[in-house]
């Protein structure tokens, strides 16, 4: 069974089709890099896959279940444009909140473990509003990985990250892929993405212009994909 299956998805904003008949599957353990210019529809597609928004036509399945299904939601970890943690709460309180929402057995232990894995253990009781940008980003990564998701959906995960946060995220993504987890990420940072991607999908004006395995040729020169399949 595919980890993620996108079956003929359309999304309309008024009469404008932001996504047109998008189809692809991602197998467990694969990493799909969704690439495309600004406004191509990558974020819209990821939000539909994550279950934040419903498609106009078509459907999405996460291990065979719709993304709004409770079991599917437990399997998804999402990093979007925002950090999705509360400024008024401490790092520990934020992670414990999400640990409780995901019904983890020992929320405190899970939160402390992820604070340590992201290098934030010394700031566990500090309020997020007092954190530096890099610390906030690492906390966002901890929040997304906290419940051990089987499918990681990342929207521009490397954008605006500092070097340490990029290193933390890349290490965690490598570990996740090695453990058989699935990653779908939209990105502009082709070089970072191609280090991890096993597959690439180029979205052009709401359509899949290319979908296939990532090759060593693409990894050596990521702009090749645009040159070959991108906007004419």
């Amino acid at each position: 069974m595919s980890a993620v299956a996108v079956e003929g998805v359309w999304k309309f904003y008024g009469d404008y089709p932001a996504l047109r008949n998008i189809r692809f599957e991602v197998e467990p353990g694969a990493c799909l890099a969704l690439i495309g210019r600004n406004g191509a529809g990558k974020t819209t597609l990821l939000r539909i896959v994550a279950g934040f928004s419903r498609p106009g036509k078509g459907e999405v399945k996460i291990f065979g279940a719709p993304p709004r299904d409770t079991a599917a939601r437990r399997r998804i970890g999402f990093i979007g444009h925002g950090i999705s943690v509360y400024d008024e709460l401490s790092a520990l309180e934020n992670l414990m909140l999400y640990a409780r929402l995901y019904a983890l057995e020992d929320p405190r232990r899970a939160a402390l473990e992820w604070l340590e894995r992201t290098g934030l253990e010394r700031s566990a009781n500090g309020l997020v509003r007092e954190f530096s940008r890099g610390m906030r980003q690492r906390l966002a990564v901890a929040r997304a990985f906290l419940h051990d998701p089987k499918v990681l959906l990342l929207d521009e995960p490397f954008t605006a990250l500092d070097d340490r946060a990029i290193a933390v995220l890349q290490r965690l993504l490598r570990e996740a892929l090695a453990a058989g987890k699935t990653v779908v990420m939209s990105t502009h940072q082709l070089r970072e993405a191609m280090e991890l991607a096993t597959h690439v999908a180029l979205i052009n004006r709401g359509q899949v212009a290319f979908h296939g395995e990532a090759t060593s040729e693409m990894a050596a020169d990521p702009s090749l994909i645009y040159a070959r399949y991108g906007e004419a």
Partner: protein, 226 residues
């Protein structure tokens, strides 16, 4: 069981965040006191007519001041895209709504509790005679404001003019509940107990709360996800 645990987690999170900043509750309380003060200039507290309409004035103050708390309810989730993380979590929309509604209810009741003594001084109202019934009316009326306000807060969360839209959507729907709460409060403050001539208002208030709570719990998932 899981549902109620989620409700509790969400309510506690909202209350903790609010008590750290006190943004909404301070603004709401100050606004309620200012409204009551301004009304006290307009109406002579010694006149019988003032006492007759005092219940109405009180609920107008609560409804206006309450929007400041209700506006923050879902807007609190916007700055860091926290709403996305809540929607992505396995928490049902109904649990999310109910948790937020309970947090709002606690904050609204807190604002009302502080406002009431000020109100009784300004308007020379002796409401202790029927305090049991009055407490029931306050609990029911406040829940009506809470449930409608929390739902419209969810509806308007992505609208740029949500501060304007929330009261515009909330007040028209609230009219029957406010009318019931005002009528009952006026009669109870005048010393009249709830009897056959005014119990229909109480039934209406209970019915309003039950129906709108049920409708909100069913619809909130659609409101949040589409």
């Amino acid at each position: 069981m899981r549902f109620f645990r989620d409700v509790w987690v969400i309510a506690l999170k909202d209350l903790r965040a609010e008590f750290r900043t006190k943004e909404a509750v301070n603004a709401s309380l100050a606004f309620a006191l200012v409204i009551l003060l301004i009304f006290s200039f307009a109406f002579d507290a010694q006149e019988d007519t003032t006492r007759e309409i005092s219940g109405g004035l009180l609920w107008i103050a609560f409804a206006f001041a309450g929007t400041l708390i209700l506006n923050r309810s879902f807007a609190r989730e916007i700055p860091n895209d926290c709403l996305d993380a809540l929607i992505a979590s396995p928490v049902s929309g109904a649990a999310l709504f109910l948790g937020k509604a309970i947090a709002n209810y606690v904050l609204l009741l807190g604002m009302e509790l502080v406002s009431l003594p000020v109100f009784s001084v300004f308007y020379n109202v002796r409401w202790m005679g029927q305090y049991g019934w009055l407490a029931l009316v306050f609990l029911l009326g406040t829940w009506a404001i809470t449930v409608i306000g929390t739902m419209t807060s969810a509806l308007t969360v992505n609208i740029r003019l949500r501060e304007v839209m929330l009261p515009m959507l909330t007040y028209p729907i609230l009219v029957p509940a406010l009318l019931g709460a005002m009528q009952l409060s006026m009669q109870l403050m005048a010393g009249n107990p709830i009897g056959p001539e005014n119990e229909s208002w109480l039934k209406m208030l209970i019915g309003f709360d039950v129906i709108y709570t049920a409708v909100s719990l069913v619809l909130v998932e659609t409101v949040l996800v589409g």
